[in-house]
């Protein structure tokens, strides 16, 4: 056999080349605009005085404190739900899967008002609860995706050797779930640290976070240097959290024995966890039920007037398009965003796995870089687009393509976090066996990795779609009043007086929830028959 001329790239350079796509995407649509606007602010000076002020550090403390509390709460509430979704064959699991996603799309102002109805004076507790309410789904999805794949036999062996159920869980199950739990925790933490609407509605002027303060300084006071100083603080805090998360992950990432574990009927003590999961789901749906009640309530009993008005363009034509058209606009934008994010996210995940196999600090850096957009204020990014995107052909600042691209920045890290633990856990020996039998790298990926990761890929796509549906920051920044999405319509109706407008606003929320549930169910339907290969 004659040696072939070695014009082929070494595996490592091939991976580095593939990493160009996510890097270019991040560079153009994230790093450049953010650096430009922060640079503009720094150019005006006045950063040090902001850092020297005591209340800046109060902001940092409160931001991180409430985010940590909300993350802990979301983890505690999300794990039983993850167990229910991943491991249990109980009635209604599919519906639960869709239902836990619903909070994610609700506009923050609506959720803020719902929590305010219970705590009229706002405060720290409702802020933490509302932030956790949004993020239980992240935990349930991210952890559930891996849990469904973790080999039960190790756990069963531990039990057979006399370990108690809780001992088997803490010594066998929990360590194998750790990467997904770490992933979920870092995503939830970033979401909570940059949560805006909830803090504004429930915190009033007493509780402010870096995010609300950056918004205020950028948008209302036009104090770009103050905003830039706070953005830097936010950035440093976020990077610190991400590095801690990466270190935690690093210790735990390993191959697990992955199989398709069919869910089974819960037994004995597992029922306790199932009951806890149902309680969490009930708690998540309580505010949702409240919203639906508000969409039907009038002074003189129940009525569907809000829904009827939404089918048209509202009272006296107060909406540019009907609620149904707005729903379609939402679905279109979210589809675009999901496709872009899947392309970038899956490429990134594959690159990260490949780089990791070749052991590389570069993988860690890329992994952390992909998470950054979650931790940066939407208003910083938006104003950054204004000062940079006109340099791209066709004045990109006002291009409709900018919305899905901006949303993809938020969705990509979620996709990476959901898919990566599963891909990383694929047993190298399976891949080696396939390669030994003559499969090309592409074929190994297609026949080994993809079937194992397919379920989590779909879960990631569904999740990304829902995040894009509810995303408001980027959408509102480039809102086209002639083609509004549902969250934009809701915001508009909320800002108007009168019973009917208020009913319509809540009816539009109900419509958004229906669209979300339907989308999740449809995406779940695409489930690949993947039993029995191993």
């Amino acid at each position: 056999m004659t040696p072939r001329p070695t014009t082929r790239l070494s595996p490592r350079s091939a991976w580095a080349l593939a990493a160009l796509l996510p890097l270019a995407f991040l560079g153009v649509f994230f790093a450049w605009p953010v650096l430009a606007i922060v640079g503009l602010g720094l150019g005006e000076g006045g950063v040090l005085p902001v850092l020297a002020r005591a209340d800046t550090w109060d902001l940092v403390g409160f931001t991180l404190g409430q985010a940590a509390a909300a993350t802990a709460l979301a983890l505690v509430a999300g794990l039983p739900v993850a167990f229910l979704l991943a491991r249990c064959r109980v009635r209604g699991a599919g519906l639960v899967r869709a239902a836990v996603m619903v909070p994610f799309v609700l506009p923050t102002v609506v959720v803020g008002l719902a929590f305010r109805a219970l705590w009229p004076d706002g405060g720290v507790l409702p802020i933490v609860l509302a932030n956790a309410f949004f993020n239980v789904a992240v935990v349930a999805r991210t952890v559930g995706g891996l849990w469904a794949r973790v080999d039960r036999r190790a756990e069963d062996a531990a039990r057979a050797l006399g370990a108690s159920r809780s001992r088997a869980f803490t010594s066998v199950v929990l360590p194998s779930l750790a990467p997904a739990i770490g992933s979920a925790a870092s995503v939830v933490f970033l979401f909570c640290a940059t949560s805006f609407g909830v803090v504004l509605v429930l915190g009033g002027a007493r509780h402010r976070t870096l995010e609300t303060e950056i918004y205020l300084r950028t948008v209302e006071l036009f104090d770009l240097s103050g905003a830039a100083a706070l953005s830097l603080v936010q950035f440093v805090a976020v990077i610190a959290v991400l590095v801690v998360g990466a270190l935690a992950r690093r210790k735990r990432e390993k191959s697990l024995s992955l199989r398709v574990e069919p869910p089974r009927r819960p037994t004995g003590g597992e029922w306790g966890v199932v009951v806890a999961a149902w309680l969490v789901v009930a708690a998540l749906l309580a505010p949702v039920a409240g919203l639906i009640a508000r969409s039907l309530a009038t002074d003189d009993g129940w009525s569907f007037a809000g829904y009827a008005a939404l089918a048209g363009t509202g009272e006296r034509g107060t909406l540019a398009v009907s609620g149904l058209d707005a729903a379609l606009n939402s679905v279109r934008t979210a589809t675009d965003a999901t496709l872009v994010a899947l392309l970038v996210g899956v490429t990134s995940a594959v690159v990260l796995v490949g780089l990791r196999r070749h052991g590389s600090w570069f993988a860690e850096t890329l992994d952390t870089a992909l998470m950054l957009p979650l931790g940066v204020s939407a208003v910083t990014l938006g104003f950054g687009y204004l000062v940079t995107m006109d340099a791209l052909p066709g004045d990109f600042r006002t291009s409709p393509l900018l919305v899905p691209l901006a949303q993809a920045l938020v969705v990509t890290p979620l996709i990476v976090r959901i898919v990566l633990p599963v891909l990383r856990a694929v047993d190298e020996r399976l891949r080696q066996a396939a390669a030994t039998l003559g499969a090309s790298p592409w074929r190994v990926w297609r026949e080994v990795d993809l079937p194992l990761a397919s379920r989590s890929l779909l879960a990631a796509a569904g999740f990304g779609f829902v995040v894009a549906l509810g995303e408001f920051g980027a959408t509102s920044f480039l809102a086209r009043p002639d083609a509004p999405t549902l969250p934009v319509v809701i915001a508009r109706l909320m800002s108007r007086p009168g019973e009917l407008n208020s009913q319509m606003a809540y009816a539009a929320c109900a419509l958004l929830m229906v669209v979300t549930t339907a989308a999740v169910l449809v995406i779940e339907r695409l489930r690949v028959p993947s039993g029995g290969e191993f």
Binding site: P120, L200, D299, G317, A479, S495, E499, Q503
Partner: protein, 344 residues
């Protein structure tokens, strides 16, 4: 796997006519004017269609946040504007926009029909499109026995303890207008005393209009605990009961006037078409449309208001306002003072 999923995804994308595949770039030769607006902008679609039929110009609205946020975006992009015309810069932010040279001069023939009453600057760069007055609104039923408050000063009376909810001027535009109204009434030296009295009398402060009006106010569908709220002169038009009587009322002696302006942006791609759009906004049809669409009053004289408005929401005769330059110079300091005083 792909054999099953790909067709499904493709079908889904086709079904929803995914916008990646349908770019909405204007056809060659089409005349498009981009109208940068605040988030509350709304006009009947038929008017925009008719304008296109009459002039051949397509108006492409682009929302840029509330009045303040939008003004700041215009200032930030003044060397390469994101649109051709802007609507929604209000009297609070107008000075900043004028000082930064965001708008170009234009003498609209339509501006002499009433808009000139709110003119800010002699060269006429900004044209008043509508007027929105921020006033205290009361829940009429709550005051049957104790008598309604009439003036700002009444709200400091112990008789009306714990009845008022206002918005934070730092985060809400009606909140800021109300603060400015009290400064216009009590003067730069005494407004802090008045707010001290309000604080002692149990005023509640919330972040935004939605919380104040739909949750804390007792006269709206939210049925909250407080019968006095900072809202708009036009709000009662939406609160008319089945028997035809308004459930709420604006206190016409507590109003602060905010005028919203439109103007041609410096560096607009097509000056002539941009000017036509300004004329259109000041014209009879749009002026008759703004009350129903945006809950504001037309700037043009002789425009008939909708029936519910004549009954429940007349234009306040004596609204206060402060000179735009004075607001621009002091706003940040006033808001800071207010924060220390009311929330410190």
């Amino acid at each position: 796997m792909f054999r099953r999923v790909l067709p499904a995804v493709t079908a889904f994308a086709l079904l929803t006519a995914c916008s990646v595949t349908t770019s909405d770039a204007p056809a060659p030769g089409e005349r498009v004017v981009t109208l940068v607006t605040h988030d509350s902008f709304a006009l009947s679609p038929e008017l925009l269609e008719k304008f296109k039929a009459d002039t051949g110009i397509t108006i492409k609205p682009l929302a840029g946040g509330d009045a303040g946020e939008m003004t700041n975006k215009l200032v930030l992009t003044k060397d390469a504007p994101i649109g051709d015309v802007a609507f929604g810069v209000d009297s609070t932010f107008a000075s900043r926009a004028l000082k930064e040279g965001v708008f170009a001069e234009y003498a609209s023939p339509e501006a002499q029909q009433g808009a000139q009453r709110y003119q800010l600057d002699p060269p006429n760069r900004l044209h008043a499109v509508d007027v929105g007055d921020v006033c205290l609104n009361i829940d009429v039923a709550a005051f049957k026995d104790i008598g309604e408050p009439k003036q700002y000063a009444d709200l400091a009376d112990p008789k009306y303890k714990d009845m008022l909810v206002v918005e934070d001027p730092a985060t809400s535009s009606p909140g800021l207008a109300f603060l400015l109204g009290t400064i216009a009434t009590f003067g730069e030296r005494n407004w802090t005393n008045y707010w001290g009295q309000l604080k002692a009398n149990g005023v509640k402060v919330v972040s935004g209009w939605e919380e104040a009006y739909t949750q804390d106010f007792s006269g709206s569908s939210g049925k909250g605990p407080r019968p006095v709220v900072v809202s708009y002169a036009s709000s009662p038009s939406a609160e008319i009961g089945d028997d035809g009587t308004p459930r709420t009322k604006a206190l016409l002696d507590t109003c602060y006037r905010q005028v919203e302006y439109a103007g041609v942006l410096n560096g607009a791609k097509n000056r002539e078409d941009a000017e036509k759009v300004v004329d259109f906004l000041l014209g009879e049809q749009v002026q008759a449309d703004v009350p129903g669409q945006m809950y504001v009053y037309p700037s043009r004289e002789g425009v008939t208001l909708p029936e519910a408005w004549t009954k429940a929401a007349p234009l306040p005769a004596s609204a206060r306002s402060l000179p735009a330059a004075q607001v621009d110079a002091n706003r940040e300091q006033w808001v800071q003072q207010w924060r220390t005083l009311v929330q410190g």
